[in-house]
């Protein structure tokens, strides 16, 4: 597996303008900072896990990277080319290299199309002249690869279970042999027993095809299983970014520590004695985020400086990046 960086995101910001429906028409809309300055690198064949509570901007980040939502500023270098500067047409042709898998497997499949049409759509879009027989062969191959019987091509999405629908979604993402798949909470809508199957399938496919993955979840335990590195996101800001094992064993940011303490440990003895760090309060509004460190309203370690100065996202050794004045 090569070690080249295929994607480099620099200081990506995605803002939304939201208007209070009761406000007067001439008032300026509020700015919601869904993603506020995220940077990372992604190597070929690597998996970057992104975790955070719902509402922390992780889905927006994923969509901002692949321009399903236009970013405010920043750079997304894809194989050396800034995606955010491409014209719509150029971006469209780049899309065959970057695919996406969605949270709700059934909702991401057009109910009026059969499985064959759904899986073949990327071919039809990017290589419309491919002969029918070849398309059929490609669809069948990819179906077998993701564990679906190829004789189901004429069936419709509503005839499948959630796990099968997600396999169809994966097949659609794979058919053009992309270099990166962005997975937006691909398993959180599935049964626990199925979750593992889908994650394992993704892992196998990754090893086999040298895919890079951006894997988003709100559950640290799933991300740990598949990720090379993990990024912890809070209110659109990066809190911590480190190698998977490192982050899990030696979390340095208070927020990450709390998240990890909430993951159940299979051993009842340890589970009983472990210290549970509770985070109190709700996620603050991204329209009006706390000054200084965004986590300070809920941080057990917060001091005065946290309110005045925004902590720098810095390397604390061996590429373990943390944004906290008082990291461990």
């Amino acid at each position: 597996m090569s070690n080249e960086t295929i994607m480099q995101v620099d200081n990506l910001k995605v803002y939304f303008r939201v208007k209070n429906p009761e406000a007067m028409p001439w008032t300026r809309p509020d700015v919601l900072k869904a993603v506020d300055g995220v940077s990372f690198k992604l190597k070929a064949g690597e998996t970057l896990g992104i975790v955070g509570e719902s509402g922390c901007g992780k889905s927006t980040l994923a969509r901002g990277i692949i321009r399903l939502i236009e970013a405010e500023e920043g750079q997304v270098l894809w194989l050396g080319q800034d995606l955010l500067k491409l014209s719509n047409n150029e971006m469209r042709s780049r899309r065959q290299e970057i695919q996406m898998i969605f949270q709700d497997p059934l909702a991401s499949l057009d109910p009026r199309m059969n499985i064959g049409e759904i899986i073949a759509e990327p071919i039809k879009t990017h290589h419309p002249k491919t002969p029918k027989a070849e398309v059929k062969q490609m669809v069948e191959d990819v179906m077998v690869r993701v564990g679906l019987l190829p004789n189901l091509v004429n069936r419709y999405p509503h005839e499948f279970s959630g796990g099968q629908c997600q396999r169809i979604g994966i097949a659609r993402a794979l058919i053009l042999k992309p270099k990166l798949i962005v997975c937006d909470e691909p398993v959180s809508a599935l049964d626990v027993s199925i979750q593992a199957q889908v994650v394992n399938l993704l892992k196998e496919l990754q090893d086999e095809m040298g895919l890079a993955l951006i894997f988003i979840a709100h559950d640290l335990s799933i991300v740990k299983h598949i990720s090379t590195r993990i990024m912890v996101l809070y209110l659109g800001n990066m809190m911590e970014l480190a190698d998977s094992a490192d982050l899990y064993d030696r979390p340095r940011h208070p927020y990450t520590q709390a998240l990890i303490s909430a993951v159940p440990i299979p051993d009842p003895l340890i589970e009983k004695n472990k210290e549970l760090i509770l985070i109190e309060g709700d996620l603050p509004s991204a329209i009006n985020p706390p000054s200084g460190c965004v986590f300070r309203t809920r941080c057990p370690k917060a001091q005065d400086i946290c309110a005045s100065d925004k902590p720098v996202f810095e390397d604390t050794g061996k590429g373990h990046m943390v944004a906290c004045h008082f990291h461990d």
Binding site: D110, R112, P150, E159
Partner: protein, 310 residues
């Protein structure tokens, strides 16, 4: 025994592997099956087909045309103009001695075409308008929908009558006037539906794949709108017929010698005192039966296509 089983299992496995592609049930197939199970709806389709066929084939059996006046009957319609096979007036005659059978056929044609043409106009304008407003969104959407709101605030029947009085009473005018009024609801429904489809993940998936906007509309949005449009259109047709009939009943709709169900019912109602009840009953029977059929079909379609029931 065990060996035999093994062989059998192997055979089965082979069969499964060689099995041809399973035929899927599309949502349309599903909907058709559900519609077929609805007895009232299927019966209504049958009856309505008969009525339409009657309006086409009926004239070949008519003895009198719709314009001929039977002078022998005129003046003594109550006694001689009754429905009978002997003198060729199967449905009797109207108060002017014209053959009611032919008149009813003529009225059926006009009423049905007002219904279908009016509904088609409304569906086409409403769907395009609503889909554009919904898909483009933002200011354009706001502006387009405010126009609809303003038009909706004007009482429709009033405008309709006004237009007929000002521009003269012609069938074409009636088509235009009714069609123009009825698209408003349609556009609202379609806009709402477009908005919700636009935000579905499968549309996002298509965008992520790199499908063009125009292809997204034709390939993903329109087919998913079709169910709602079909249901609403099926309920628009009887609505159109009702509006036309009530206007004709008021004497403002179609003009003599042309006629419609509403006009025939109106004529029949005026002469009911002279013991010529058939003049009311025949057109009324067609009118009521057809409306019932349309509503049953509309109900059936809604049950068959509405995703909420699933």
């Amino acid at each position: 025994m065990l060996v035999l089983n093994k062989v059998k299992i192997q055979e089965m496995a082979d069969n499964i592997a060689e099995m041809d592609a399973v035929k899927g049930r599309s949502l349309w197939t599903d909907a058709r099956r559900r519609f077929m199970q609805n007895k009232a709806a299927t019966a209504s389709v049958f009856v309505l087909t008969l009525i339409v066929l009657f309006s086409f084939i009926g004239p070949y059996f008519a003895v009198w045309t719709n314009e001929q006046i039977d002078w022998a009957v005129l003046g003594r319609v109550a006694e001689l103009g009754q429905p009978s096979f002997a003198n060729g007036h199967f449905f009797g005659t109207d108060s002017l001695g014209r053959d009611l059978y032919s008149r009813v056929i003529q009225g059926t044609r006009i009423s049905l075409s007002v219904g279908f043409v009016g509904a088609t106009v409304a569906v086409i304008i409403g769907t395009l308008y609503g889909a554009i407003a919904g898909y483009v969104g933002g200011r354009v959407d706001q502006f387009m929908m405010r126009i609809v709101d303003i038009l909706m605030a004007i009482p429709g029947m009033f405008v309709l009558i006004l237009m007929l009085v000002v521009f003269g009473r012609s069938i074409l005018m009636l088509f235009i006037a009714i069609g123009l009024l009825a698209w408003l609801d349609m556009s609202r429904i379609v806009r709402g539906q477009t908005l919700s489809i636009k935000n579905k993940e499968f549309v996002e998936a298509a965008r992520a794949t790199g499908v063009k906007n125009s292809k997204i509309i034709t390939r993903h949005i329109v087919p998913n709108l079709l169910g709602v449009v079909v249901v609403y259109a099926s309920l628009l047709v009887p609505g159109m017929i009702l509006i036309e009939s009530s206007i004709s009943f008021l004497g403002l709709g179609v003009q003599e010698p042309s006629t419609s169900w509403g006009a025939l019912i109106s004529d029949g109602a005026k002469t009911i005192r002279y013991d010529t009840e058939w003049q009311l009953l025949f057109p009324l029977a067609f009118f009521v039966t057809s409306l019932f059929c349309f509503y049953f079909i509309g109900d059936g379609l809604r049950d068959a296509l509405d995703p909420k029931d699933r």
